[in-house]
């Protein structure tokens, strides 16, 4: 097997111990933190016998190692238990809400990258001059401000004052039914259902939360792009390119950006992981029916199974994100393959 193949395989295999660690930690955390969930399921006047029955049903009567084995076995069958709040299986709850978070997340992240990278390049190329200061000032506030506040400000300006965009009521205005779910992405399903009017409504509802998300993610992306690019521009190899007669544009976009993208990709991986693990606060403000809201509800209502399921999803998502980043690195940076 070529050395690159071996590296990839090793990196892939590493996912398993980490995933196992995550899953184990969740198991213990859930039990330690949530105490005895029997109380939640049992009516207040239940007899001891009833309580014992409920405990047995929840699998809590078994010794801990046995519970752990059941837990793992269920996980492998993708059974995450039943949500006490919704009455449905946690797995189906997660599946229902995933597209909302994904759709918002993808668009917000795309906006953040589309704004962040060019701004970072601009700041690096005009280092120590006014574009640089402008970008650094803006990104500083982007990183210093809590996302929920930015969302509120945007709502205040565009909805309350200017009436340009609709209020934070979720993915579609109140009372409008969702189109039949094919992909779960409204921007796709509305068109597939032949409802361009709905598509437009969905776009308008998406605008403010996506902008908020884009603003928050553009800030760190721009910063890292700037510093990586500035470092590349000062390097010996860029000096060589210029000495050989390459023009400015070629130097920026061909000979520096590619080098600068390495740390940027790592950052984007982290940001993406964070976004898709469910931007809890953002979804709360915009009443977005995604995974973040699900997690929040689960916490507030001590919904044991839902919480556990969500934590597993979110953590494994991070693991996946960093796996992708590492694999991408192996393709982009030839030095790693050495």
């Amino acid at each position: 097997m070529p050395p690159l193949g071996k590296m990839i395989l090793r990196r892939l295999l590493w996912v398993f111990p980490v995933a196992f660690g995550v899953v184990t930690m969740t198991f213990f955390m859930a039990r330690v933190l949530n105490g005895d969930p029997t109380e939640l399921y049992a009516p207040p006047e239940a007899s001891d016998a009833l309580r014992a029955e409920i405990r047995a049903k929840l699998g809590l009567a078994d010794p801990l190692p046995l519970q752990f084995v059941h837990y793992l076995w269920n996980l492998l069958r993708l059974d995450l238990g039943t949500s006490f709040t919704t009455g449905q299986s946690v797995a189906s709850d997660l599946w229902d809400r995933l597209p909302a978070t994904l759709e918002l997340g993808l668009i917000g992240l795309a906006l953040g990258i589309a704004a962040g990278i060019p701004l970072g390049v601009l700041a690096a190329v005009h280092r120590e001059r006014w574009p640089d200061f402008l970008v650094r000032g803006t990104t500083l506030s982007g990183m210093a401000l809590p996302q929920f506040w930015v969302g509120l400000v945007l709502i205040s300006i565009f909805f309350v004052d200017l009436h340009l965009l609709p209020g934070p009521v979720g993915r579609l205005p109140i009372g409008i039914a969702l189109p039949p779910r094919i992909t779960g992405f409204l921007l796709v399903d509305t068109l597939l259902a032949g409802r361009p009017d709905l598509w437009w409504l969905a776009v308008k509802q998406l605008t403010l939360p996506a902008l908020t998300l884009g603003f928050s993610s553009a800030a760190p992306i721009a910063r890292v792009t700037r510093s990586a690019m500035a470092e590349a521009l000062q390097s010996d190899y860029v000096r060589t390119a210029i000495a050989m007669g390459h023009g400015r544009r070629a130097v920026w976009f061909r000979y520096s950006l590619r080098n600068a993208l390495l740390p940027v990709i790592t950052l984007i991986g982290g940001v993406a992981g964070h976004i898709f693990a469910g931007a809890v606060l953002l979804e709360s403000i915009f009443a977005w029916p995604g995974l973040g809201q699900y997690a929040l509800q689960a916490i507030e209502r001590s919904d044991f199974a839902a919480l556990q399921g969500f934590v597993i999803y979110a953590s494994l998502l991070y693991v996946l994100a960093f796996l992708l980043v590492d694999l991408l690195y192996m393709f982009i940076d030839p030095r790693i393959r050495a």
Binding site: P146, S156, Q234, A277, V280, L281, S315
Partner: protein, 288 residues
């Protein structure tokens, strides 16, 4: 060596201070200002921040109430001042704890290497797969509200980053010549690591602390926003933003707006400080 594109010209310039000089001083000034406000709030505020009904409820900013009042008629300025105690204090203490514990473990792991190092790094990797805010939310919800709990949870979440940083720094310097010299002089290993190697990494650690503190303040505000962690009537800035949400929809924007600005000032100042510190301690700056 760096490159200039274009012909070189002589540009007469007045003597001026480097940019990081100003950034450093502004950052420190901001911190001092916030600390002062927090301390003053123990002794004096324009009105009693917790008493409702002083104003009529949702008074707009005016001479009597410079930042307006909230829904219950409590003065915003007074509440903001008291809020400084929480956001600043919690972040500060949590970071201090995370710094101490994380750096210690990281230094040991980086210096001794081997199995200890591997085990610690794997544990950190697994731990960091957990979304930080979520973890904080979970724990706080489970163990209950209260300042101490919030501080402890925040420190816990912050430890891995310090650990990694310290480990990387120590690991890189472990084989340097002066470390060798310290060993040959008969110092015990832990002494070499802590007394000789660690002080050289003060720069990056300090810069990181500033940024970490900013992050801790944001998490505190986030927890407050969700109503977790401190209790419903505590005038913590995140909590205040949450309570002003309804006001935003009906046009009373100031209840949520000013706490956000307060957060911006604090975290912005901390980031600025962190930037300035990392600029100043960047070894590449010597002799340019």
């Amino acid at each position: 060596m760096t490159v200039v594109l274009g012909s070189s010209k002589v540009v007469p310039r007045r003597r001026r201070r480097p940019r990081s000089y100003w950034a450093l001083r502004i950052g420190i000034a901001v911190l001092v200002f916030y600390a002062a406000v927090a301390l003053i709030s123990f002794v004096w505020t324009p009105y009693d921040p917790l008493t409702p009904g002083i104003g009529d409820g949702y008074d707009a900013p005016s001479w009597a109430f410079p930042l307006g009042t909230d829904r219950l008629g409590s003065d915003m300025l007074s509440r903001l001042m008291v809020g400084a105690r929480y956001d600043l204090g919690i972040a500060f203490v949590a970071v201090l704890i995370a710094l101490t514990v994380g750096t210690t473990i990281g230094t040991l792991a980086g210096y001794f290497g081997g199995k200890l190092d591997t085990a610690v790094m794997r544990a950190v990797e697994i731990f960091q797969a957990f979304p930080g805010l979520l973890f904080a939310m979970l724990v706080v919800q489970a163990v209950g509200a209260g300042i101490v709990n919030v501080i402890l949870v925040l420190s816990f979440v912050g430890i891995p980053d310090y650990l990694r940083l310290a480990r990387a720094e120590i690991h890189a310097k472990r084989d340097w010549q002066y470390a060798e010299a310290a060993r040959l002089a008969g110092n015990l290993p832990w002494r070499v690591a802590f007394r000789y190697l660690l002080p050289n990494s003060v720069g990056p650690l300090l810069a990181f602390t500033s940024i970490n503190a900013a992050f801790a303040a944001l998490v505190t505000a986030s927890l407050g926003f969700l109503g977790l962690g401190l209790g419903p009537n505590v005038p913590e800035w995140g909590n205040m933003i949450a309570r002003g949400q309804d006001g935003v929809m009906t046009g009373q924007w100031w209840v949520s707006f000013f706490p956000g600005l307060a957060i911006l000032g604090l975290t912005g100042g901390l980031y600025l400080l962190g930037d300035a510190l990392s600029d100043i301690t960047d070894p590449r700056r010597r002799g340019r």
